[in-house]
Symmetry: C2
């Protein structure tokens, strides 16, 4: 079982805040995400800034793309995004167009991740695999968490099933150093944390604490 | 039956192109949409520019928001968006948070529209109504249209059913002056056109042609 990667999500509403957070923690993580909230506020300039600051890190544009996949993927890939997210309710043609566009710009490095929100089915998931998509992101939505939901057995079973199907599965939503151990024994591809890292008093130390937990449970 | 509104979608990848299109056609339409592609490229500054150019028009931020509904809605509402879209796979807490935030900023004018992509059910649609959401947008996705799909009886029946349930329903995707008549007798709330208007040789004339068709079939 490979060691899970650590991804920091920059979900600021302003470019300065996102860049400050990225600088404080970027070298400690494997993947740096231009979050949806921030992309919708400042546009893909954020991706370009992150690419220039961190030429060797994986940069994700969390566009949650629902349509016009080719255009959105190209717009972000030319600015340096390696991975881009599509919402699970996007059509297969949208996902295929996004995958084609990101691979045209980024080569083998370019990948599309399907964001699992709301109701989706394993039948749909198989169609994503058939379309060449190899990554999925399993969420607890921020708003659902605020409404009191938490990680449980049903979530873990879905994550495991997706991994068995052949996806590299990232997990996200309210993760902290106490909750990582819930996934022990599960071949998680990437843990994604946002404010659990960026809002910590010492973000770099918080990222290292996540890494220490990962090292403890995935050897 | 009220006369359907006409909405122009600005789906440019650059601010200058979007603004040029808005200026050329904004006065001819009822609703001006900051499209997803453009928002992801340039951020919500586009909304602010549109609000300043067209103080009396309805401005839509087509964020296709999937999470963090309160933050995204506030970010766009403070810049002048009256309506904002949520993707149908967003959770109910996300939609409720978005609705609350947009109404806090825009009062009665503030509304959330659910974007219908992929698989959704009437049971889910009822939950959106119960959450206070009163608008839905029925699509042919751009990529699906490119893959050869078109408007048909099954689409019209879904639109009618949503209207019967109590939604104000907008329709979009590959609309032109020839396809509007397909909706004759249907209480469509808004017709949304993008490049069918903005890429016309004379965008203002194209918008007026849409209006003429609407006047012909909805008296």
């Amino acid at each position: 079982m490979a060691k899970p990667l650590l991804q920091v999500a920059l979900d600021h509403s302003d470019l300065k805040g996102a860049i400050k957070a990225a600088v404080s923690v970027g070298e400690e993580v494997d993947v740096i995400e231009a979050g949806t909230v921030c992309l919708l506020q400042v546009g893909s300039e954020l991706v370009e800034v992150l690419r220039n600051l961190f030429p060797d890190k994986i940069i994700v544009a969390d566009t949650k793309c629902a349509d016009a996949g080719g255009t959105v993927a190209k717009n972000n890939a030319v600015r340096g995004a390696d991975w881009m997210t599509c919402i699970c309710s996007a059509t297969i043609p949208t996902m295929k167009a996004a995958l084609k566009a990101i691979k045209e710009e980024r080569g083998e490095r370019g990948e599309i991740q399907v964001e699992l929100y709301g109701d989706w089915t394993y039948e749909q998931a198989q169609l994503w695999l058939d379309a060449g998509i190899n990554q999925a992101i399993y969420h607890q939505s921020r708003d659902a968490l605020l409404a009191g939901e938490t990680w449980g057995e049903k979530d873990l079973n879905k994550v495991k099933k997706l991994i068995e199907m052949g996806f590299k599965v990232s997990v996200t939503g309210g993760l902290n150093t106490d909750t990582l151990k819930l996934f022990e024994g599960v071949d998680v591809f990437t843990f994604i944390a946002g404010r659990g890292i960026t809002e910590a008093e010492d973000p770099a130390a918080a990222a290292r604490a996540f890494k220490t937990e990962i090292d403890k449970y995935w050897k």
